[in-house]
Amino acid sequence: MEILKVNDLTVYFDTRCRPVKAVDGISFALRRGETLGIVGESGSGKSVTALTVMGLAQSIGARIVSGEVWYDGKNLLSSQDLYRQVRGKKISYIPQEAAPALNPVLQVGKQLGEMLSVHLGLSAGDVRRKTAQLLETVELPQPELVARLYPHQLSGGILQRVLLAMALSCGPDIIIADEPASSLDTTIQAQILRLLGTIKAREGLSLILIAHDLGVIYQNCDRVLIMYGGRIMEAGLTSQILENPLHPYTVSLLETYRCLEEGMKQPGLTKSCPPASRENIPDALGCVFAYRCQRAMDICFLKKAPSLTLDDGRTVSCHHLLHLRQDGNPDARM
């Protein structure tokens, strides 16, 4: 059952010369209780997608061109008021870096308590108790002490847990985690992800996990969206996609990953190719990946690739598959 549904979301950044298409017409759905991974290189639009779903596109200077975000039978994007009702309460957000996301002049306990009193209307005493309890939930030792400290006095790992506590504070349905702790050490990142997984399972939440590391996705997500240049390249069950990629981009990502994983035993993608960047992707008539794609054909540069939903439920948007299907590949259908 779908708890959140995003339809045809398009978000631009207006620079003075031309709009940069950060997110270019993507649609996806989050099912109750699942973890949806969004993976892509820098500039692929995954963070913008997350912020837009949170209703924060304007706050980062982006413009929503089109799209709907359906939650609880309402299109949240139709009105900011709807967001006010769900944000922080029903849909929580965990940003990539914890330290800048916390007000430096307020004690972390106060910031956590603020949510409780604003959203749940708890009394001061209840707030204090609930705060400590929440901090305990995220496996923080000495919650009372931590609550009294300022962000700069705490390490990134602890702050990340505090943010997790905040995200959990009002009993949300959905948590959107944008590369949590990816700037921290791998050990700490692993801890945080493990904790997130545990809590998610316990509370029965739905989770959108944004990551650039395929390993993280593989280990944590039920389904995954592969994004590139603001578009979804491939989407489906994690195991299917990462074990049997169809889209050339996914293939190259995985190849790179494997190559690294195996200690560069076989030379990987040594060919110098232009990186993924909003500004380097021309207002693509065709497929955004075409310029990097080793299998690109003429049509790839001219025509947008339609997304195909395959029998196993995954969606791929690539002209090759279309050709395959037209050529009579049996397991592809529109």
Binding site: I60, S92, P95, A101, L102, V105, V118, H152, L154, S155
Partner: protein
């Protein structure tokens, strides 16, 4: 905190010594003999000697300097040869006037400047914000004394709403001077507050606070304002200096018997002991205000007041 204050106070000592040194140097940097400068070439030797002695110039520089320091510690800034009385007394008479004017200007600053800046930042993309912003830069560019003269003429002479000059009408006397002094500085503050607020509003913790579903007003006030005001507050230290300079012009125009007019008349009368005293006092005042600002700053911004501890402390990276 006590430790901090003590440490800061101790750090003041070399600065105060330096200020005294520079102030005392004034007597010696004058081309030619200062007593001759003061009294003219054809002065009788007795008067000459008396004045030299009164100024402590019969002593070598170091002794004179040490005597000034000693005097400062005893609250004695020397003796005005022109006015024939202690410099302290002269300055003490002038200080309340300037302080009242300064308070007026500060009030205007707080009532007008900061809210204007914050509003300009919040309405950045709207017309009102632009109007506020452009008017602040225009006011900021307008020399205060020109404004002062027009205010005096229109509000004082023509309309008679405020006293034209002088300090006899109580706080009413300080409204126009306060405006003349305070408005340009309010504009400075408004610009600063705006920049600071805009900067804060792009900070991640603001976006994060919104993402936590906090009401917009609460985000602005509780998370934005406090952080935005910290640099604005720091700037208040600068005001002491700006005020001291502004006093000279506004007090001259409005004929207020404060520090500024004292400076001006002392400059014209070449009353060097008074000038030295004022220079010292104003610098001392500026330094102390900065200390106070730092203390408040430390209270407002916990990052300053405490040593950073935690897992990430390694300076080695």
């Amino acid at each position: 905190m006590v430790r901090f204050i003590v440490k800061r106070l101790l750090a003041l000592i070399p600065i105060l010594l330096g200020i005294s040194f520079v102030s005392s140097m004034l007597f010696y940097i004058v081309p030619g003999d200062i007593v001759t400068v003061m009294l003219g070439q054809h002065v009788d030797p007795l008067t000459y000697a008396n004045v030299r002695k009164a100024l402590g110039l019969d002593l070598p520089f170091w002794e004179n300097f040490i005597r000034f320091i000693q005097g400062v510690f005893c609250g004695d800034l020397g003796y005005s040869y022109i006015q024939q009385r202690p410099v302290n007394q002269i300055i003490l008479e002038a200080v309340p006037v300037s302080v009242k004017m300064g308070i007026m200007a500060l009030l205007i600053n707080i009532i007008v400047g900061i809210p204007a800046g914050i509003l300009a930042a919040i309405n950045d993309k709207r017309i009102s914000g632009r109007v506020l912003n452009s008017s602040s830069i225009i006011i900021f560019s307008f020399p205060a004394f020109i404004a002062a003269m027009f205010m005096q003429l229109i509000l004082g002479v023509k309309l008679g709403w405020f006293p034209v000059s002088g300090s006899e009408k109580g706080m009413l006397s300080y409204v126009l001077p306060g405006l003349a002094l305070g408005l340009p500085l309010s504009a400075v503050n408004a610009r600063l507050a705006r920049a600071s607020m805009l900067e804060v509003m792009t900070q991640e913790y603001i976006i994060s606070a919104i993402s936590r579903g906090l009401p917009y007003r609460r985000v602005i006030i509780k998370h934005g304002l406090r952080n935005a005001l910290i640099p604005v507050l720091t700037n208040f230290g600068m005001f002491v200096g700006a005020f001291m300079s502004g006093f000279v012009l506004t007090e001259t125009v409005f004929n207020l018997p404060g520090m500024g007019r004292l400076v001006f008349s002392a400059i014209n009368a070449r009353d060097f002991p008074v000038l030295r005293g004022i220079l010292f006092i104003s610098a001392l005042f500026a330094v102390l205000t900065n200390l106070l600002v730092d203390l408040i700053y430390a209270r407002l911004d916990p990052r300053i007041a405490t040593v950073i501890v935690g897992e990430n402390t390694d300076a080695a990276g």
